[in-house]
């Protein structure tokens, strides 16, 4: 019933030859994905690792320096500060997205016209690119000229002359609001797909047993949504840890560098300071952290699943 990571185990014990033939077919079916990955991901990644072991300017002659770039990263205050901020951002973003995605999905989970209508509306921001969404919100919250500051200012809720991007907390809140608006519809869609995968009979049975709406939600639906939870969690954590566009456009890392993210630092090292070798090392470090965090999440969910 629960479909999460019991990958290595075949679905049923069968005669060995059939199992092998099925495995063979599985391998063949995976080949197109591997082809793409090998060419456009693994191979460039290997080159990135290679570059990370060099003092590698964007242009010019590289020089091998072993793990020098990695050593440097651990004493690079600016990078460490950016990593700290990135984790903070992720810790704020993830619960907001999770709770809202589930809440929205349950709000509009049925196939009625009204539910479908609201599904459509909540999902709409997803079709706008992250950069475009950032520009819209940047405009909305400009002091004096921004439509939102004007609107809320006219009813006395905010000070329309205040510069919301010059203060860490307001700037941060605006970015969090924008990302929630832009992404939560997608998370809602994933949860909806998960809900729909639960056979009606399960809820039906619970109802016949006399379970209340909340009971059947909390004790039946939520546990069955664990694979969906894993999906939403892994992608919102990874997406948050890789945040760049929204800060690049809306805060440019400010005020005073307080909203620089890890990827922003990678970008600055590669394309502002032209130190591609160091940027590569930072990328590899970030990937390792991300891999560990994601593996931890999957492990956690799998374990609680088995209990």
């Amino acid at each position: 019933m629960t479909a999460l990571p019991q990958l290595a185990e075949p679905p049923r014990r069968r005669r060995r030859s059939i199992g092998r033939r099925r495995g063979m077919l599985g391998l063949v079916l995976s080949l197109p994905a591997f082809g793409l990955l090998g060419l456009f991901f693994i191979w460039p990644l290997i080159r990135t690792v290679f570059m990370s072991l060099h003092d590698w300017p964007l242009l010019g002659v590289p020089e091998f320096i072993g793990f020098g770039n990695y050593v440097k990263a651990f004493s690079d205050d600016q990078f460490l500060r950016a990593v700290g901020f990135t984790f903070f951002y992720t810790l704020v973003m993830t619960p907001i997205l999770l709770v809202l995605a589930f809440a929205l999905a349950f709000l509009v989970r049925r196939g009625t016209r009204a539910h479908r209508f609201f599904q459509t509306i909540y999902f709409l921001p997803v079709v706008i690119g992250l950069a475009a969404g950032s520009y819209i919100w940047l405009f909305m919250w400009q002091s004096d000229i921004g439509p939102t500051t004007q609107l809320l200012g006219s009813v006395g809720l905010v000070d329309p002359t205040k510069n919301y991007f010059a203060d860490f907390w307001t700037a941060f809140a605006i970015v969090v609001g924008m990302v929630t608006w832009k992404v939560v519809g997608l998370q809602m869609l994933l949860v909806l797909a998960g809900i729909q995968a639960i056979p009606d009979e399960v809820n039906e049975a619970a109802r016949i047993d006399g379970a209340s709406a909340w009971q059947s939600f909390w004790y039946i639906t939520v546990p069955l949504l664990r694979p969906t939870l894993a999906l939403v969690l892994v992608f919102s954590v990874a997406g948050s840890l890789l945040a760049f566009d929204q800060f690049y456009i809306m805060t440019t890392g400010g005020p005073a560098g307080s909203t620089l993210t890890a990827v922003y630092e990678i970008y600055r090292n590669g394309f502002v300071k032209f130190d591609v070798g160091y940027a590569s090392a930072l990328s590899i470090l970030l990937m390792v952290v991300l891999g560990l965090v994601s593996a931890g999440q999957m492990l956690l969910l799998r374990n609680s699943d088995n209990s």
Binding site: L59, Q142, K162, N163, A166, T251, P255, F271, F274
Partner: protein, 432 residues
């Protein structure tokens, strides 16, 4: 406006064709690099789109065997895109770049050495000195001056009048700038004396440093090896901005403005004084969206009367190291820096960099251009192979210093001392 321009272009085209024919044949025999032919790929920032396309059309019309193909690159991404392409060995033949990047790309080997070819140009000594210096690296020439963007002081004459100041005598010292800004702020009514883009390093090297230069100071030594961020002239400049900010003479938006809002605020008539470039003029004169008030422009002053300063911005143009058509590329460079090319540039409202042609091609078009021409004559630009890292990076040393000195809780001197130390460390590292 547009109709007017079209007519000018048409007339220019006729004139340039006549000149172009003779010019072409003579250049061919001068350089002796053989018959150039084929296509020439040119990359330029999107902000240069209008005149670059006209320049290309004009060049193509006058050169039978050569065809220029312009590719527009988003200005904010030019360095990335050009850098990646050069690293991948697939750069275009010609790149027109923000001149501050020329030293880096020259030092990194992305540009072709054109010293010998440039020596053949009769006008090599008549080009903007700031642009020329940026095209040099270790005694060789890698890029030529192309277009000019100088910073000047724009001021709102209506607000000057309202504040009891004479609109026809703009401030001639920094103290007068500050006094005028404070007088305008005192009007109340949502008017501010001054504005700048506080979170935009590239904007501020352009609009702020002229005060320091005019006063006889600098932010970097001329050879680009030493940082001078803790010098007294920098202190004076930062103190003026800090006083204006703390006195409420600037709108709140300046603190986080990354380049788009300060100019809008001035255009809406809410700001008294604003330093910006010649490109801003067309935005103010736009018949529908331009300024609805009387404004003037003047040179940015220094500490004492008679001192003036400006930033020599704009583009240098270079042949890339891996150019597939270097001879064609050179023909194009020679043409755009020559009389015909500079005329097309000037006729499209962009400032030429040939000082010897300014008076004949550019200044007569608009009396206000006179101020730009004067600015170009005194304009400077800091030379550094790490200019991007030091100044243009919105989280770099320069931007951080401004944020801390103008808006921060510490003192101006503390911010300077910190920036000086950081900048010197970066310079020492890059000069090893």
């Amino acid at each position: 406006m547009r109709r007017h321009t079209t007519l000018l272009v048409a007339m220019t085209a006729v004139a340039a064709t006549a000149i172009g024919l003779s010019g072409c044949s003579s250049s061919g025999s001068d350089s002796g690099t053989g018959e150039a032919s084929g296509t020439i790929s040119v990359w330029t920032r999107d902000s240069q789109a209008s005149f670059m396309n006209k320049l290309a059309d004009e060049f193509n019309a006058t050169h039978d065997d050569l065809k220029v193909e312009v590719t527009l690159v988003p200005a904010a991404d030019f360095v990335q895109k050009f850098g990646t392409a050069a690293a991948g060995g697939n750069a275009p033949d010609v790149a027109s770049m923000d001149l501050v990047y020329a030293p880096y790309f020259a030092s990194a080997g992305a540009l072709a050495d054109i010293t010998d070819r440039v020596d053949t140009l009769p006008y090599a000594g008549d080009m903007s000195p700031g642009h020329t210096a940026q095209g040099q690296y270790e005694g060789k020439t890698y890029a030529l001056p192309f277009t000019g963007d100088v910073s000047v002081m724009y001021y709102n004459k209506d607000l000057f009048t309202a504040a009891g100041l004479d609109p026809e005598t703009p401030p001639t010292t920094m103290a007068e700038v500050q006094a005028a800004a404070e007088a305008i702020t005192a009007l109340g009514d949502g008017d501010y004396g001054f504005a700048f883009s506080g979170a935009c390093g590239g904007c501020n090297i352009f609009s702020m440093t002229p005060y320091t230069w005019a006063s006889g100071g600098n932010v970097l030594s001329d050879d680009g090896k030493d940082a001078l961020l803790d010098s007294a002239e920098v202190t004076d400049m930062l103190t003026m901005y800090r006083d204006l900010w703390q006195g409420g003479a600037m709108p709140e938006l300046v603190q986080s403005d990354s380049g788009s809002n300060a100019g809008d605020a001035f255009k809406q008539g809410k700001v008294g004084i604003f330093n910006w470039g010649n490109f801003y003029l067309s935005s103010l004169t736009d018949p529908t969206e331009g300024a609805q008030f009387d404004w003037g422009l003047a040179l940015i002053p220094g500490a004492e009367a008679g001192q003036t300063g400006s930033f020599a911005g704009g583009d240098d143009i270079a042949i890339t190291a891996g150019a597939k058509n270097p001879d064609g590329a050179w023909t194009f460079l020679e043409w755009v820096t020559g009389d015909e090319g500079q005329k097309v540039i000037a006729d499209n409202g962009v400032m030429p960099t040939r000082l010897d042609l300014l008076d004949s091609l550019y200044v007569p078009q608009d009396p206000r251009y006179e101020v730009f021409a004067e600015a170009l004559a005194v304009a400077k630009v800091p030379y550094s192979v790490i200019e991007n890292e030091l100044f243009n990076d919105s989280n770099g040393v320069w931007s951080t210093m401004i944020q801390e000195a103008v808006f921060g809780s510490g003192t101006v001197e503390e911010a300077q001392a910190k920036a000086q130390k950081a900048a010197q460390a970066l310079l020492d590292e890059s000069n090893q």
